[in-house]
C-alpha cells in the first residue's frame, strides 16, 4: 500500500474521473488497492459539502461541531448510501444477466463522487459576491449529481462490456423499483390509516 501511494498512480485515477471514466473503471478493476483510496473521496465530499452549506446561511458556534464531528456522520451516511445503491445496482446487473461484482461497483461509485468537491470553490465565489448563492448551490448540486451519475453509467458500461443504454438501465432500475415500491407502500399505508379511522 505504501508503494502504491508513493507511485502516485492514484493521482491518475482522479484525473481519469474528469477525462475518461471508462479508462478509470478499467484501472479500478485491475488494481484492488484503489478501493481504500476511494473511500477518501466521500470523506472529502462530506467536509466540502458541510462547508458549502455553511456558506449559505449565518452560523452559530455549532459550525465548529459540524466541521469537527459532523462530517464523520455525513461520511458514514455517504458510504452507507454508496453501499446500498451499489448493492441494488449490482443486483439489477445480475437480473439483466451480467456478472455481479459489488466491490467494483462501490469503488466506481466512490470515485464518481469526486466532481462534487468542486461545489465548494464554485459556491465560495458566488457567496463572496453575494450573487444568489442558494440558487447556484442548488443548480451546481444538480449538475454535479448528473455528472456523477454519468461517470457511474460509463463505469458500469465498461465493467460489464455493455452499451450505454443497458448500463443506464442497470443504474436507474433500482431507483425506479425502489421509488415504485416506496410510492406503492405509501399509498397502502395512507389507505390503511384512513380505513382504520373510518371503520
Amino acid at each position: 500500500m505504501k508503494e502504491f501511494l508513493k507511485s502516485l498512480v492514484w493521482v491518475d485515477y482522479f484525473y481519469m474521473v474528469f477525462t475518461d471514466p471508462r479508462k478509470l473503471a478499467a484501472a479500478l478493476m485491475r488494481e484492488s488497492r484503489s478501493l481504500p483510496i476511494g473511500f477518501i473521496i466521500p470523506a472529502c465530499v462530506s467536509i466540502m459539502d458541510i462547508l458549502a452549506i455553511s456558506l449559505l446561511g449565518s452560523q452559530t458556534p455549532f459550525f465548529y461541531i459540524k466541521i469537527t464531528y459532523g462530517w464523520i456522520l455525513f461520511f458514514m451516511l455517504l458510504v452507507f448510501q454508496n453501499i446500498l445503491i451499489g448493492s441494488l445496482v449490482d443486483a439489477a446487473a445480475q437480473v439483466l444477466g451480467y456478472q455481479g461484482n459489488i466491490k467494483n461497483v462501490i469503488n466506481i461509485m466512490n470515485y464518481a463522487l469526486f466532481p462534487r468537491v468542486l461545489l465548494l470553490p464554485a459556491i465560495l465565489i458566488f457567496s463572496v459576491f453575494n450573487f444568489a448563492p442558494v440558487f447556484f448551490y442548488v443548480l451546481f448540486s444538480m449538475a454535479l449529481f448528473a455528472w456523477s451519475g454519468a461517470i457511474v453509467v460509463q463505469g458500469l458500461s465498461e465493467m460489464h462490456s455493455a452499451g450505454l443504454t443497458r448500463a443506464a438501465a442497470v443504474f436507474f432500475m433500482p431507483f425506479v423499483l425502489v421509488g415504485g415500491v416506496a410510492f406503492f407502500a405509501m399509498v397502502l399505508t395512507v389507505v390503511s390509516i384512513f380505513g382504520y379511522f373510518t371503520a
Binding site: S58, F63, N130
Partner: protein, 317 residues
C-alpha cells in the same frame, strides 16, 4: 511528475485553499464583524417593511435613465415605490428622507405615488435624517406617520425660483446677447437683463399656484386644516422638536424607531423582515459604473449643473 498529475495536484491545492477560505469567511461572519452586517443570509419571504431612500435634491432624471438602463432621480424613487406596491410581502414602507427638496413636478410625482400606496392600504412611515425641508417635507407629508430626529431640519414650506442677474457683469465685459424671439416672454428670467414687473407677476403666479398646491397637499396628507398650517408655512425652517409642536411631525425618533413604528402600524411582528434597496454588491457596482459612464455623480444636483432657472420646493439657505 507528468502534466496530468500536475493538473490533479493543482485541483487538490485549489480545494484545500477553498476550504481554508470558506472556514475563514464563516468564522468572520460568525463574529458579526465582516460582511454579515449587510449580507442577505437567507431569502426573506414573509410579510415585511420595504425601505425607500430619498437622498439629495429631488429632480426628474433628464436623460431618462443611465447608460446601463437604470433609472435614477425621482423616476427611480417612483419606480421603487411601484415595485414595493406590487410586492405582496410588503405591508409597510419606510421612506428615509435626507433632502432639501427639489423641483415641483418631481416632488409631486413622489407625493402622488405615496398617496396611492396609502390608498392600497400600505402603511407609509417617514423617517427624517439631517434634512427634510421644503420638497423633502412635502414628500414626508404624504406618509401616514412622520418621525424626525430632535435635530432634523424640516419645514421650509414654500416655493422658490432663483435666477441670476448678470446684466452688470455683461455690460462690464462688453457682451451683448442677440435675442430673436416669438413672444415677449420667451426669454423670461434671462440672466443678461433685468426682470420686468409683468414678468415678475407671471413668475409670482406660478409660485403662488405651487405654494397653494403645497399647502393643500400637506393639509391632505397630515389631515390638518390649511389655516393651522399657514402660520408656519412662510418658508421658515425648524428643528424636529419645533415641528412636533406645530404637528408637522408625529413623533421624535431615529430610523430604528421609525422601523419599529412601521411594523407596529402594519401589525407585523417585531422581527418582520426588512426589504432594503440594492444590497447586492454587483448591482451596487453597476450603479456606480452608471454614474461614472454618465460622467456625473448621481447625487450631484443636476439643476445646478445645467444652470437653468427652475421653480422649486426647496430649502435654499
Amino acid at each position: 511528475m507528468d502534466k496530468n498529475r500536475k493538473i490533479v495536484v493543482s485541483i487538490l491545492i485549489l480545494l484545500v485553499l477553498s476550504s481554508v477560505l470558506a472556514i475563514i469567511d464563516i468564522s468572520i461572519s460568525m463574529q458579526g464583524t465582516g460582511r454579515d452586517a449587510y449580507r442577505l443570509r437567507s431569502p426573506d419571504t414573509g410579510p415585511g417593511v420595504g425601505i425607500v431612500r430619498i437622498y439629495g435634491p429631488i429632480a426628474i432624471d433628464a436623460s431618462g435613465g443611465g447608460p446601463l438602463g437604470m433609472a435614477y432621480g425621482s423616476d427611480a424613487i417612483v419606480q421603487r415605490l411601484d415595485d414595493l406596491s406590487r410586492d405582496a410581502r410588503i405591508k409597510a414602507v419606510l421612506v428615509r428622507i435626507n433632502s432639501p427638496g427639489g423641483t415641483v413636478a418631481a416632488t409631486q410625482e413622489i407625493y402622488d405615488k405615496i398617496m396611492r400606496l396609502r390608498k392600497d392600504n400600505i402603511v407609509v412611515v417617514a423617517s427624517m435624517g439631517e434634512l427634510a425641508a421644503s420638497g423633502g417635507y412635502y414628500v414626508a407629508s404624504a406618509c401616514n406617520y412622520i418621525l424626525a430626529n430632535h435635530g432634523s431640519i424640516t419645514g421650509s414650506i414654500g416655493v422658490i425660483a432663483v435666477s441670476p442677474n448678470l446684466k452688470g457683469l455683461f455690460e462690464k465685459l462688453g457682451i451683448r446677447m442677440n435675442v430673436i424671439k416669438s413672444g415677449r416672454y420667451k426669454d423670461l428670467l434671462s440672466a443678461y437683463r433685468d426682470i420686468s414687473q409683468e414678468e415678475r407677476e407671471l413668475i409670482q403666479e406660478i409660485i403662488d399656484s405651487s405654494y397653494k398646491k403645497f399647502l393643500a397637499d400637506v393639509s391632505l396628507g397630515r389631515n390638518i386644516p390649511i389655516p393651522e398650517i399657514e402660520p408656519v408655512a412662510d418658508g421658515r425652517v425648524m428643528s424636529g422638536e419645533t415641528a412636533l409642536r406645530h404637528r408637522l411631525v408625529d413623533e421624535l425618533g431615529s430610523f430604528e424607531t421609525a422601523l419599529a413604528k412601521a411594523r407596529a402600524l402594519a401589525k407585523l411582528p417585531e422581527d418582520a423582515p426588512v426589504y432594503d434597496e440594492v444590497t447586492n454588491p454587483i448591482e451596487r457596482l453597476l450603479m456606480s459604473l452608471q454614474g461614472a459612464m454618465g460622467g456625473i455623480d448621481i447625487r450631484v444636483d443636476r439643476q445646478f449643473l445645467s444652470n437653468l432657472p427652475a421653480v422649486e420646493y426647496r430649502y435654499q439657505p
